[in-house]
């Protein structure tokens, strides 16, 4: 991703509708990792028709409810899939909208979560997210 391909905001609203954002380069990822993440997000969206989103930052307790609140702010919530990663609390939350859930059952999300946390425990945030996105997209792929 150049910063314009994907954007970010510090507040509790997703980006993606903004132009280039220099803050994207101040996050936890290198430019190369951001490019991989952007490619993974775009591929997942295009191949499934769902809206994938990735949040990396602190989550308030209870983390599940906070992740669901973030998910509710996404456009096209029913088809949205939010991957929320909180490195400080070492928590991963995957939230699927009602329609996305039909394509991505909780069991498939759990499998993706397992592979993601395996990468996170080795310190590979970007690799875990990219692998998780690919796995989720594979399960939800339009045949």
């Amino acid at each position: 991703m150049t910063a314009g391909e994907m954007a970010l905001r510090e507040s509790s609203e997703p980006a993606g509708t903004r132009g280039p954002d220099r803050q994207a380069l101040e996050g936890p990822f290198t430019t190369r990792q951001l490019l991989r993440l952007d490619e993974a997000l775009r591929t997942a969206d295009v191949s499934t028709g769902l809206t994938f989103s990735v949040y990396v930052g602190d989550l308030e307790e209870p983390t599940r409810e906070h992740a669901e609140k973030l998910h509710a702010q996404l456009p096209n919530t029913a088809d949205a899939v939010l991957i929320a990663v909180c490195p400080n609390q070492r928590v991963l939350e995957i939230v699927t909208g009602p329609r996305a859930r039909r394509r991505l059952p909780d069991r498939d999300c759990k499998l993706a979560a397992l592979s993601m946390t395996a990468a996170f425990s080795g310190g590979d945030l970007a690799g875990g997210i990219v692998a998780g996105l690919a796995q989720l997209a594979e399960h939800a792929r339009i045949v």
Partner: protein, 89 residues
Amino acid sequence: MSGPEQVLYLVVVPAAIVAIVWGLASIGGPSAKRRYRPGRPYDFIPVWYLANHRRGAAGRPGHDAEDAAAPADEEQPVQGSTGGASDRW
């Protein structure tokens, strides 16, 4: 080889090489700080990413197909609860 020369070749030169390598490693590159290490504080700003489809002229085939197949369904609020999974590491 005289005593001072031995000291120079066997002590000073290796020490200088070690010091240079240590100095370069401690400085690190621009990406040295952008590294998450489990157990260490994570003090980056929160980031939230969405794919930007405006650059893709091809659009989103999945959505196009879905919209064409069931346009009425898009307008109705979707009933049901959210799903997903939680995990820790």
